[in-house]
């Protein structure tokens, strides 16, 4: 067994494999496990021989575990399979693709980093595959890989592959999909699954296995918005009150100020422990116990968050739900809604429309949802829940509905960003107040790198923002300006003007300019008002050694003169709003530092 005995630093990748009855999905997974040597001999020997070629065992039987499945030759339920690749451990949720079991697909997809979707090369993009694509996007799976299978049955024809890719891309344009990739394969013969084979020479991309081993997933974690819903309160004795739970987003440090919802009481984190070991910090998805500086009486279902970055509180909200029970939705009926660790009664106050998952058509004036149907609804709960939109945080934005009489899980729900503030809605995010965040520092100190990353973080959180720097301006409005002192001043002035106008309309402007003169920056501050100064600080030698744009080299060779820090002065801010020392902190740390400052600064309107 290839089990990477010596590598304990493996990453975990959760994938969901989706395909219809005949797409050959079980065969593909069987092939992956078989060709990576992950199938034990006794399991292999127990397999029946394949119908089509008697020498080959039927790999599909490896995953079809239940008696009824083997009798009917279909996959009924989600099966979990485990693979060890060279850099990661892979959990495969193998789900059936036929219509009546869509609920299983939602089940398998809910925790996945990647959807592996199978399409039969002979059949192309069927309605079924469209449904799979839609559900993958609805469930917010960050990466989708389309395996176009049975290439052996279409003579490994590149045109067939290209046509299907085009059809999929056309359809996917209507959906929210971040990352879509294609690989031609023959699961039966093994081409492009683990080994390349010799029939698909025209295809130069990765094999399925290489793709699974190299897919970048750590960046998908939301490490900014700290959320710790309380799962359990531990009280071993009178002097200890620990709050146990799984961090569902972001990270937290000892000493940080936090707010508990719904009481809005604030306190500081006194200690953090993971499995009984003391830690200085913890992050998602760790299961932790925290204690507070103050005696606060919080209980299961309440949420701990950072004071200036708390989730929404509401008892009326909108969501997509996927109905999963044979008994249809009744809008007047009461259901139990479980969100994080809180169970509360609810009703579906409005069924806005039913979505045809094959055509994406919205059917209004609908009264109910049947098994496997998806609808957009408004839900009213008997007591408020503390949530983020599903788009922003899958853990804080999901819920299940349970029928009180049967205890069946009747629906899976994904909360939408838009909020209705009807009646007892407790709080809503105030509108954004604009502002200019001015990054100053030497060339090569890391202003642009940090600001670009911050820009992405703000975008993720739907905060209106814009980037401005010398290059951006010179590429557009100020291309006629040179590098004389006068032209530079003009460039900075134009930047200041644009930044001011954008900020006045609620935009956070991330401006990165060397802006060496203290006086210039002070003038900007006076003019703009909501102006904060970030000093990106690194010693000249460090900046020189980085020399991202090759400017220091040109200075050395005499091609540039009057260069800030070398033969022209730089006046560091006397009291910047934040100083980031990029020679000491990593990029990740610098961005975290900034985001923490940003949250405390509270740019939102109140």
């Amino acid at each position: 067994m290839n089990n990477n005995a010596n590598n304990r630093d493996l990453e975990l990748l959760r994938i969901v494999a989706i395909g219809s009855v005949d797409d050959g999905k079980s065969t593909l997974i069987g092939r992956l496990l078989h060709d990576t040597g992950l199938i034990y001999r006794d399991h292999l020997e127990a397999l029946p021989k394949s119908d089509t070629s008697p020498e080959e065992v039927d790999l599909a039987f490896l995953t079809d575990g239940l008696m009824a499945e083997q009798e009917q030759g279909i996959t009924i339920d989600v099966a979990y399979r485990y693979m060890a690749a060279s850099k990661r451990r892979i959990i495969i949720a193998d789900v059936p693709g036929h219509e009546q079991y869509t609920r299983n697909m939602v089940t398998g997809a809910s925790t996945a980093h990647l959807a592996l979707l199978l399409i039969d090369a002979r059949k192309g993009l069927l309605e079924q595959s469209k449904r799979h694509l839609f559900i993958s996007s609805l469930l917010g799976i960050p990466h989708i890989l389309i395996a176009i299978n049975k290439m052996d049955l279409v003579d490994y024809d590149e045109q067939v592959f290209q046509d299907i890719c085009r059809d999929v891309i056309d359809f996917a344009k209507k959906l929210k999909i971040r990352d879509l990739q294609f690989i031609p394969v023959s699961a039966l013969k093994g081409d492009m699954v683990v080994s390349r084979g010799d029939k698909l020479d025209w295809y130069t991309g990765r094999t399925i296995l290489t793709y699974l081993e190299t897919l970048e997933v750590t960046g998908d974690l939301n490490l900014i918005d700290f959320r710790l819903p309380i799962q359990l309160v531990l009280r071993p004795n009178q002097d200890y009150r620990g709050y146990a739970g799984t961090i569902e987003g972001g990270s937290v440090k000892v000493g940080e100020e936090v707010t508990i919802l719904p009481s809005k009481e604030t306190t500081r984190i006194k200690s953090i422990s993971v499995g009984g070991e003391k830690r200085k910090y913890a992050f998602t998805p760790q299961s932790v116990v925290v204690t507070f500086d103050d005696e606060i009486d919080a209980s299961r279902g309440e949420v701990i968050a950072r004071t200036n970055n708390i989730p929404h509180t509401a008892n009326v909200f909108e969501a997509f739900i996927c109905w999963m029970d044979s008994v249809r939705l009744e809008t007047k009926q009461t259901y139990i809604l479980k969100h994080c660790y809180k169970s509360t009664r609810c009703t579906i106050s409005t069924l806005e429309y039913k979505l045809n998952v094959n055509t994406l058509h919205r059917q209004k004036n609908t009264k109910t949802l049947k098994f496997n149907e998806i609808g957009r609804v408004q839900i009213e709960t008997s007591s408020p829940i503390f949530f983020d939109s599903y788009e922003q945080n899958r853990n804080m934005g999901n819920f299940i509905l349970v029928d009180e009489a049967t205890n069946h899980t009747v629906a899976a729900g994904m909360i939408l960003p838009k909020l209705h503030s009807k009646g007892s809605s407790l709080s809503q995010k105030p509108p954004q107040k604009g502002g200019v965040i001015w990054f100053t520092g030497l060339s090569g100190s890391g202003k642009t790198t940090i600001a670009d990353r911050v820009f992405k973080e703000l975008k993720k959180r739907n905060i209106p923002c814009e980037r401005l720097d010398g290059d951006i301006l010179r590429d557009s409005v100020t291309s006629h300006l040179g590098f004389s002192k006068k032209d530079r001043e003009l460039n900075v002035n134009i930047a200041g003007f644009l930044a001011e106008r954008l900020a006045a309309h609620g935009v956070i402007v991330l401006a990165t300019f060397i802006s060496p003169y203290r006086k210039d920056r002070e003038q900007l501050k006076e003019r703009i008002g909501n102006f904060t100064e970030i000093y990106v600080n690194a010693p000249l030698e460090v900046c020189r050694s980085r020399d991202v744009k090759g400017l220091y080299k040109q200075v050395q060779e005499g091609q540039i003169t009057s260069f800030t820090g070398v033969d022209s002065p730089y006046e560091p801010p006397e009291s910047p709003d934040l100083e980031i020392q990029t020679d000491q902190d990593s990029l990740d740390d610098s961005v975290s530092l900034f985001m923490e400052w940003f949250e405390k600064k509270n740019f939102s309107g109140n």
């Binding site: 979990y80 009984g276 299961s287 299940i400 205890n407």
Partner: protein, 302 residues
């Protein structure tokens, strides 16, 4: 302070298991943890301790004793419970029917039902446990691969594999009616090698039978059975004295040892990587039919 936001997969599995264990405690009135003394049970108990630290283990441990377990297992069990101050319940089917079943029948479905499944169901009913946490893993068997982490049982303790509740995100539906129960499997996503690596990393005690040592065995029906109070050599059997160890532990008369030189955890992990058969291969009880596990599970077996 430089911060690393990286968890190895073992740390992720640990976090997931702790989450599941805590959720069971929070949602059920009277949970119990099924303790089988094997390596998976050792890992499970370790995670249970972590989940509630600094509080004590908040529920009892239940061991269903067939009467034919290895002596080494029984002493390990008692030592563990004493050392950790755990509330250990040992339950046995004392009925005549069960008493009649001797060591030679230990591999039969009949034996499993009367010695394991029936007393388990009796014990759950007697103490009124509404959730039973077990150490089963999905990689053990293809029927287990399809079972939910929170697996519902009706009032007859029957598992209905075709009507399982969908399990979404980590949001578990723990609602049950009176008389029904939940089986909970926090180690669902762990594989055999993960268990050993975690035992190594966390320095967890396991029954010494897992380590290779010279042991007196007979070869019977394809298994190396250790000579002890329940297994005596037949006249035509040769007693072998070989270096061997156990890959899984069950009833002594139906669990075979494997020839092995692995005397340390490192050697066990190294050996694991060279195996080409599954661990259940050393258990005679699973061999009775190809869907043996699913049938046993439907009856109420763990």
């Amino acid at each position: 302070m430089s911060i690393k936001y990286y968890l190895s997969y073992l740390q992720q599995l640990e976090a997931e298991s702790i989450h599941i264990i805590r959720e069971t405690m929070a949602e059920f009135a009277k949970p119990v943890v099924l303790y089988s003394i094997g390596k998976d049970s050792s890992v499970l108990m370790h995670l249970v301790q972590k989940a509630f630290y600094p509080a004590k283990i908040p529920f009892p441990m239940l061991h269903i004793d067939t009467g034919y377990k290895f002596q080494e297992m029984i002493s390990f069990r008692d030592h563990y419970a004493k050392k950790n101050g755990a509330d250990l319940i040992v339950y046995k089917n004392e009925s005549d029917e069960a008493q009649h079943l001797g060591p030679d029948e230990a591999h039969t479905d009949h034996y499993i039902y009367h010695k394991k499944t029936k007393p388990l169901l009796e014990a759950l009913a007697k103490f009124g446990f509404d959730a039973a946490i077990g150490g089963a893993r999905r990689d053990e068997d293809k029927a287990r691969a399809k079972e939910r982490i929170f697996s519902h049982r009706n009032k007859f303790n029957v598992w209905d594999p075709k009507n399982q509740r969908p399990e979404l995100w980590h949001n578990y539906n723990c609602q049950i009616h009176k008389g029904e129960s939940m089986r909970v499997f926090p180690l669902s996503n762990w594989t055999e090698i993960d268990i050993w690596r975690y035992i190594k990393e966390e320095n967890i005690d396991v029954v010494p039978l897992y380590f290779a040592k010279k042991r007196k065995v007979v070869s019977r029906k394809g298994l190396y059975l250790m000579i002890n109070e329940f297994v005596q050599p037949h006249d035509d059997e040769e007693v072998l004295d070989i270096m061997c160890r156990y890959r899984t532990l069950g009833c002594s008369p139906s669990t075979g040892a494997i020839p092995s030189e692995a005397t340390t955890l490192d050697l066990i992990i190294e050996e694991m990587c060279s195996f080409d058969t599954s661990e259940r291969q050393t258990r005679a009880i699973d061999a009775t039919s190809s869907n043996a596990m699913e049938k046993k599970k439907r009856d109420g077996y763990f």
